[in-house]
Symmetry: C2
Subunit: 458 residues, 2 copies
């Protein structure tokens, strides 16, 4: 009897395992054709780079069958990025939004995307002639609705290969409304300090319809109310993080609003923007600068059509691979109404700003533009001033070139001159990786402490 029971029990147990393993092997949740790719992605993720670097599937040497190598953060080296280079120059130049990387590593399962070899091979989505994913358009509208930072009703949405492409597309589209019969090209202006991409594009592409004219305030004096003008308003502003308003108005003025930084990480959400032409960038929304994705909200159909023509003739739309990935990333963001990512990102920048403020408060040589805490409709509470960049001024008369002063102290920022203003200013990026920020704060401490050494020696 006892013997029969034991055997019965073991048979049941065996059956359980048999069914379990059959299920694992044959249910669609046990990958078949995705297995190799999944294994490779997981293997790359398991490569340890000591928390000071990252191994990527397309790292150097993978074609030779080597496992993806560690790509070390600035100032770290060695096979596993475990060696910290002493007295290494800090890079605080670019707006590389890696401060959000830890969030995405924490969302590994939710954010992963598997792309089949036959995914969207066509030029067009089902809706004949469209280069843009309709579902992606929908989730972008949802995102704006949960954040409350932009009106999306009765707006056309157009995608770009980064906001970069959309700046060029919108400026070009608006310059064309200038009757080509008119001999005089549209003037492009922005109030200083401004993001230098506007100027660089206009001067390099050299459209016969457009001329970069510099500071909007200067133009305001000369405004003849006839010459067509395009003003770009960046709010919050790059480099100084301040809310910015259009300087010009009138029947001859068209305005582009660059809202790349109008997200709860960087600035209080005070209202839903409702402009004729607004630009947004994935880089500053989720931190995926490498994906090259941005979007524009456009009120006027004619302008939208001209922007579409621009995007079509310059790239035939945005990579469908990227559109698939962005859809998944934004799903993760809005899943909890943005709660997790915006709190994570704001929390990170808040800590960094507290450190930078503390260090520079000890200085009389360098001043930092800041703003009082403000109420944010998204967080439903007062929040600190935590823009992407520290906009620093060198106060000493002899410190004419602030960039060079910092460069000498082994901190590479971006020269104020590149933003159409004085060399007395330098922009320091605070949105890079934690390693980058830690190096920056250490070098800043050193630089500021020298003031007091100087003071003591007097």
């Amino acid at each position: 009897m006892e013997k029969k029971l034991l055997i019965a029990a073991s048979i049941i147990l065996n059956l359980r395992f048999t069914i379990h393993s059959l299920y694992n092997n044959f249910s669609i949740w046990s990958p078949t054709w995705t297995n190799r790719a999944a294994g490779e992605a997981e293997a790359a993720a398991y490569v340890s780079c000591s928390g000071h670097g990252r191994a990527y599937l397309d790292g150097i040497g993978v074609l030779d069958g080597h496992k993806p190598p560690c790509e070390c953060n600035n100032c770290y080296t060695g096979k596993d990025c475990s060696i910290l280079l002493q007295d290494c120059p800090v890079d605080a130049d670019s707006g590389d939004p890696l401060f959000l990387e830890p969030f995405w590593i924490g969302k590994a399962e939710e954010s992963a995307v598997v792309e089949s070899g036959w995914h969207r091979m066509s030029y067009q989505f089902e809706e004949l002639g469209s280069f843009d994913s309709a579902e992606l358009e929908r989730i972008i509208k949802k995102l704006h609705n949960v954040v409350g930072n932009a009106v999306t009703d009765d707006r056309f949405i157009i995608f770009g290969t980064g906001a970069t492409q959309l700046i060029a597309a919108s400026v070009h589209a608006l310059s064309l409304t200038n009757s080509s019969s008119s001999s005089s090209p549209s003037r492009l202006v922005s109030s200083v300090p401004y993001y230098n991409m506007y100027q660089q594009q206009a001067e390099f592409f050299r459209s016969a319809h457009l001329k970069f004219e510099g500071d909007a305030h200067v133009w305001k004096q000369r405004n003849d109310n006839i010459t067509q003008v395009i003003e770009i308003v960046t709010s919050p502003n790059n480099p100084d993080g301040k809310a910015k308003r259009a300087v010009l108005d009138g029947p001859n003025v068209k305005t582009i609003h660059d809202y790349a930084y109008y997200w709860p990480y960087f600035t209080p959400i005070t209202h839903q923007v409702d402009e004729d032409l607004s630009l947004f960038s994935l880089s500053k929304t989720t931190g995926h600068a490498g994906s090259r994705f941005g979007w524009a909200l456009v009120k006027d159909k004619a302008v939208y059509e001209r922007m579409k023509t621009y995007i079509t003739l310059s790239s035939m739309g945005v990579s469908r691979d990227t559109q698939l990935r962005v859809l998944q990333l934004l799903k993760v963001v809005i899943d909890d109404g943005g709660d997790e990512i915006f709190n994570f990102g704001y929390g990170t920048l808040k800590k960094r700003w507290e450190i930078v403020n503390k260090i520079l408060s000890m200085s009389t040589r360098f001043s930092l533009e800041t703003k009082k805490p403000e109420y944010c409709n998204y967080f439903k509470r007062v929040r600190d001033f935590t823009p992407s960049y520290a906009w620093v001024k060198c106060e000493r008369l002899e410190d004419i070139n602030c960039y060079e002063i910092f460069k000498a102290a082994k901190i590479t920022g971006r020269n104020g001159q590149e933003f159409g203003t004085e060399e007395r200013f330098v922009r320091l990026s605070l949105i890079k990786s934690q390693n980058d920020f830690d190096q920056l704060s250490n070098m800043l401490k050193k630089l500021v402490s020298q003031e007091h050494v100087g003071a003591d020696s007097i």
Copy 2:
């Protein structure tokens, strides 16, 4: 004794299953964080669309939790694309390279890519300042070496968001070598028939440095050997598939070679091209038009640097998501030296051309430009003339507008006028899906058969 044995056996069996299932759950080859994404991709792949459509991960309704819907091929409808619309107009307009889709479905496991949420968030690859993957550059050189269609030694490679962006970048870069002091802009020419994108870009972007001048042969008469000229040579040519040579030369002439179609599917590989500036497109290499990826091989460093500036200012490089995928796709292509994909693609086009030739051989109303079979260095044998498009001429005096003749017969091609030549010509795309081609050949048969009805009735 017997009882002990049975229990021992069952324990061993249980252990086996326990270990097996533990292995499945914890070894890196049993995905963990990639599991959800893999399951979703496999589920989308399992959606049956009756072989007349495809369901994609980002299809309409997925945000509402619906499973990806079937997106039906032209002339098919119904939830599972099983309904063929009778007497439905054929679309033979675009160069959508879906003839290669069955190859990639057959390579599901080899070509799948899993992208993590933190993959390449930065603007740059490890090599500071680079927007382009070094491994991708390497495999592109390998590809050219195995196919033998281009010299890659001592060449700079630059990526673009489709060859589309590279056409604009190369034309702009070459127009800038024209000293901006010179009052006269560079002239852009191409011998007719030419791909109309060249003209559309030049006329829409309206660079102060460039003017589209039309047919290279016409310009040759007017060539003053002083005015700077840029000639684009498309070989094999779009639309007519013929090998093309530069018409102009001289110290004032710069040449761009568009080799988008110089692959063994379309044309014999007769030599390794070795030009100053050559363009290639992933769309016509692997069939992934939607990925928007192309590359240029550039001899001159100054030209390369100006093209890089163009790509930087217009999009800050190509999506890193796309670069990861393209690396995997090209791995599959060169794994067997291109044997499988090029034979598959050439075989498909060969069959299609045999059908089209047979149908049009019955016609006196329509003539088709063809070429004798030629030896291909890649296949190491003589191959037929199988370009991407049928370039058809309407021979009857009264058939002035060939596009309209075909349109009336429910076949949408592309008007010869769009290629800078007569309306007597129409371009029919032969590289779309098998469904598209079958519909085209049926409608063509109908159209041609009407000639004989006419003849009989005389």
